[in-house]
Structures are given as structure tokens and as C-alpha cells.
Symmetry: none
Subunit: 200 residues, 4 copies
DNA sequence: AATGAATGAGTATTCATTCAT
DNA sequence: TATGAATGAATACTCATTCAT
């Protein structure tokens, strides 16, 4: 889903490193993109609370000043990163919903989304929860969660009425959080069962 | 539910303040409790991220050293505070469940818990979500959320089978989070409707 | 006196803005002059301490690199700006002194200079004081204040002996500073009275 | 006048320094006062613009955190420092004025104040001008300059009428600034001459 | 000729925690 | 038993200047 690799593009004719620590770098297009990807990595590993300029810069192997050059504010960087993530997840749900017909198939697609897109690896799960919670205090992130919620709702409304769509959305959020906090996570069957009950 | 007032007990024979700013304090039993209550106030207002020794000490009108005297670690203070809060909420649910008979009444009692205990004021809502988040990264708080979840589940199982209880629990968490993030919160009717679907 | 407007010359055939934020600029003769004028605006508003490349570039709606392209050093830009300002003020005094005959008229002209050129608006007053300060630590600016003082002295010597000219000059500086710091500024009458005493 | 010495009190039984850089310190009463004195030293040498937490801490041989412990804000530290200085100077003037009788003697006392207290060494001169100018942008310092001006005025009014006192005050400020900026400073005789003219 | 990107040093301030008194 | 002081690491952010394109 979201990019994770953080390999470093080497300038064409760069010779072997010499002398103290790091050295003349300079040519690095897509550094902005790499910073965003790295920020997501850092958030996944240390949480939003641990995602500081310094930590991200170190993880991206980039000088500290570079982070504030590309994103004038830490919130701006976080918002950019979460936007990338949220859009990838929303894309995935939209595609799943567009691919199926009938509410039974739609429900199964939603189960797939939950178990494979949202809860599959720790990364997506953690990022979702971190976003939920960071949005609480940072206006810049509210826009991201709202857009995500809106897209999710629209996608579900391709197959369900508005009331059901909203309830499904809330339950999905609850299941994500539950999974995150619980010591004994729910199985796909249990998830399917719960979603099924909402839709009748 | 959770204590909110943070008024200051004045020593019986305290004379008018003289000389430099603050002065001899001393007569202050339950300072520990006041610190816990104040910590919850601070978390509710500024989030866990904004709850530092200094901020709490200032809010409690207590010297900085006092916070580390009573709680050797910030995590310890936070855990104490969240425990107080979670137990108050769990108490409330348990009592509601014990007061009723029949699953219809139980469901209505759960609606009451959600709308009056959890979503009533911003404070309880914010504290719940902050706890969810903080628990993610701080082992000391995991125990608190787990105990809370366990007690909730048990209380629901007085009236519902285990599977339903768990689903209700997840939905409740989802609804709390949804309420927190959403621009257009759900009405009690909508909440009742969603819970109803889970139980049939 | 000193230029204040900082409107932006539009290239003849510039089409509506499209795509990402700012775009192709190019047709911009006298960008150097615009930078100087903008620097004075910025100093007047934020002080020398707040006059950085970035702030000036933003205020002039010019790319950051442009400031260092036209002025290889910040001090160079500041010196250019203050020179423009100081020369405008010195010109004004010189003209006033050349226009009159007799020391009574000269004194009245000096009152006019103080109240209308130096203390009239905040801008001139602030720029004078900022220059005084900045000159203290930046050799590049000492030359500017010295030239200004020399010209002032010469202008006054058209009507007063050297000793009196110097004392008037010191008093003028004192009055400017006083006006700047004081909560209850002196009226033109008070200023006239003080100057009068120096000249007999 | 203002303290300048910045020697370091050694804890009674401190043994010779061992190992890497600095080490366990701890007992240091009047560190607050030392910081104020050091701040004045730093301002005198590098100007307000060069007086940062770091520079002051280094000059006082104190850890960085110590400066912000004692003064929660840099402005607070600067205000404390300038207050010490301004009060010392105001004390000096007051004393000179109280010691004399008759306006002739008073004027001579004012000449003494200017030449010996204010313009004697670079330090007092520089501090006065830095204060004048820093006060412009920092509200916290305005109070200091205003109090100083008020005290000066009152002291002069022991011997001169209010109008004359104000004019003398402005001229004194002008002479200080003039001395500061000028390449060829005025002699005591010239200063006496100028002041004399104001008082008749 | 002009500029977007880069970077290393520096800014004020907050912090959890330790410890001497 | 309490607490004011101390401290080293960390925070977000700004900056002058350089340089590749």
C-alpha cells in the first residue's frame, strides 16, 4: 500500500565516501516524497508522539534542515504523510466496492478490506489508529480524517443505504481500535459475523 | 463520575500571604488524590502529550518536586489517573447492567451508558480516546485498558451471550471514536438503532 | 521621502496563473530597487533583527535566491537600504537649510525638519533609531551614519557656528530618541523651545 | 557601578576536576544574580542581539538549562539585567543631585554624571544605548526605560523646573547616543557648554 | 541571469528526572 | 517529609549562505 522503502539515490558519479561522517550531497530529487514515506515509517514505529523532525531526518538520512525546508511545519509533514496513507486505504476500499455487485458480495468485500487492508499488518493498523487519535488535537489532520470518512461512506453507499453505511463505518472504526487494543484479536469469521448483523 | 473539582484546601490558621510569591505550604493531606484529579483535568484539556510534570504541578498549585515525590515517574501518575477514570466508567456500566432485567432493558441501559456516561460531556469522551491512544505505546497503561475492557465485557455478559457482548463492546468503542472524530455526531436514536441491530 | 509603495510590476503579456503556486517570473527590471524599498518596509515593521533574507524575499514576492543574487550579503542589503533612507533625510534637511536665510528662519526650518521629516510618521522615526542601533555593531553601517551626521552638520553650519551646529545635532538625535521611547511625546512647541535655547 | 566580576564560587570540599569536560556541580547559591551580571557583560560585549541563552550560559559557566530555569523567558532575563543597570545609574544621578545645592552646582553634578557615570567607560555607554534601542521592540523593557526616565526627571526637578528638566533629559540622551555613534566624541567642556545653554 | 534546493549552525523553550538541602 | 535547584537531552523552527541546475 504505502511506500515503505527508504533506499537512497546515489548521485551518478559519486565516488567512495572519504573523511569524516557524511559529505557533500546535493542532488536528490524526490527528497520530498522520501520524507513523506519515511515519516510514515517513523509514525508506524514510534507513533506520532515520536515523530519529530530529528527522528524523521535521521531515518531518511537527510540533514535536519531539509525537513523544515520541504515542510515548513511538522504538522504539515504529518498531514502530507497521513494523506498519502489515507488515500491509499480509501482507494483500496473504493476499488473493492466497485468490483462487486450485490450486498452479500459487498459485505464480503468489506471483510476483505478490514482483514487484508486495515488489519493485515501492524503497519496499516497502527497508522490508522495513530491518525484517528492525532486528528483529535491537530486541526491539520482533521481534514484528512474527514476526507477519509467521507470517501469510505460514499464507497459503502454504492451498496448500502446511508444509515447502514454510517453504522458500518463506525463499526469498522471500532473493530480497528478493538483489534489494536485487544490481547486476543477477532478472527475474520468473527468480524464477518459482526458486520453481517449490522446489515441484517 | 470522575472528580473534576480542583479547589484548594486551606490550612486552618493560614494568615494572609506576605513576601515573595508562594510560601510555606504544608497542610495538604490527599495531595496525592488532588494530583490525580488534576492530571485528569490536564489530560482532558491538553491531551496526554500536554500532560507534563510541570503543567500538572502548575494546575494543581503544587511545587514541581511534589509531583515526582508522590509519583516517581510520569507514567506512574498517568496510570493512576487513568485507572481512577476507567474504574469510574466501568462502575457506572456495571451498575446500569445490574439494575435491569431482560435484554431489551439492558440494551436501553447500554444506550444510556453511551449517551450519558461516555459521550455526555467532552471530558469523558476525550479521556477515553486519550487512554486508547496512550495505552498503545505505554505498557503501564495497557493493563488499564485491558481491565476496563474485561469488566465491560463481563457486565454485558450479564444479559448477552459472549459473542454479542464482544461485538457490542467493539461497536461501543467505534461509536465513541466516531463521535470524537465526526463533524456531525450521531443522535441517541441513531446509536440505539445501531446497537439494536447487533443484538438482533 | 523614502519610497514606501511596493506594488508589483506585471509583465505585459502575463496570462492568468495556472498550476502550482507561483510561476515563471522574469520580467522584473529594478528588482534590486524593489528589494531595497521592501527591506526598508520590513525594517520599519519588524526591526533590523526581524529583517532576514527570507522575510524580505517574502515581502517582496521574490524567490529567496534572488535576495542573495542581488546582494551577496545581508549586511550589504541593509547598508544599501539605510543609505537610501539616510540620503533622503539628509537631502530634506539640506534643502530646508538652503531655502532660508537668517538663523531665526533656519531654526524654524529645523523645527520643520524634526516634526515633519523625522518625527512625522512612525516609519521615519523607527528607521532612524534602527539605523542608530544597527550601526553600533555593523561596520558597514557606520559609514552610513557618519556620512549622515556629516551632512547634517554641514547643512546646519550654513546658519550656525560649528559648536552650535554640533550641539543642535546632538539635541536633534536626543529628541528623536526621546520621542521614540517616551509615552508622552513632546509637542512641536516644546521642541521649538528646546532648540531655541541651544541657539541662545 | 554594575557588578562585572564573574568569578565562580567553588563548593567547599570539591576535589580537583577529573575525567571528561565538566562535572557534578550543584551547590551554587546566587546563581541567579550571577546570571544577571553575566547577561550585562554579554550585552555590553555582543549587544542584545548577541545575548542568547547559550551565550550567556557559556559565559556564566552554567548549563544551558539553568538559564531557563531561573528566567522562564529570555526577555525576563534581559529585563532583570537592564533593571539592575538602570537602577544603578539612576541611583548615581539621584545621589549626585541630592548632594548639591543651587542650579550651578546641579549642572556641574549633571556634567559629572554624564562624563563619569554614563560616558566614562564603554560599558555603561553601550548598555545605555542597547537598552534605549531594545526597549523599542520589547514591551518588557519599556517599563525599565520608563522607570529610568521618570527617576531621572524627578532627580533633575530637585533643581530645575519641569520644562528644563525634560529638555535636559532629552539632551542627555542625545549626547549619549551622539557619543556612541560619533568618531570624534565631545569633551567634558563641550558637554558642559551644551547643558549650560539649556539652563540659560 | 536566476532560482529552487540544500545544509549546518543557531534560536528559545520544554522536559523528565535527580538530588542537596 | 518536601521542595527548590539543577541539568542534559530534546523540541520545533529560523537563518545566512552556498550551489547545481
Amino acid at each position: 500500500m504505502a511506500a515503505r522503502s527508504t533506499t537512497w539515490p546515489v548521485a551518478p558519479d559519486e565516488t567512495a565516501a572519504v573523511g569524516p561522517p557524511r559529505r557533500a550531497r546535493r542532488y536528490d530529487p524526490d527528497r520530498r516524497e522520501r520524507l513523506i514515506a519515511t515519516a510514515l515509517d517513523v509514525i508506524a514505529e514510534h507513533g506520532v508522539a515520536g515523530a519529530s523532525h530529528r527522528v524523521i531526518a535521521r531515518a531518511a538520512d537527510v540533514p535536519l534542515g531539509s525537513t523544515t525546508y520541504h515542510f515548513s511545519t511538522l504538522d504539515e509533514l504529518l498531514a502530507a504523510a497521513f494523506t498519502v496513507h489515507a488515500e491509499a486505504v480509501a482507494d483500496a476500499l473504493e476499488e473493492r466496492m466497485r468490483e462487486v455487485t450485490g450486498s452479500d458480495a459487498a459485505l464480503e468485500a468489506l471483510v476483505g478490506h478490514l482483514t487484508q487492508d486495515l488489519l493485515a499488518d501492524d503497519r496499516a493498523l497502527v497508522l490508522a489508529v495513530e491518525l484517528y487519535l492525532a486528528a483529535a488535537r491537530r486541526p491539520a489532520l482533521r481534514a484528512v480524517t474527514e476526507a477519509w470518512m467521507r470517501r469510505s461512506r460514499r464507497a459503502l453507499e454504492l451498496h448500502f443505504d446511508a444509515v447502514t453505511a454510517r453504522e458500518l463505518d463506525a463499526l469498522v472504526e471500532g473493530l480497528v481500535l478493538h483489534q489494536y487494543l485487544s490481547t486476543e484479536p477477532m478472527t475474520p469469521q468473527q468480524i464477518r459475523h459482526a458486520l453481517h448483523r449490522i446489515t441484517r
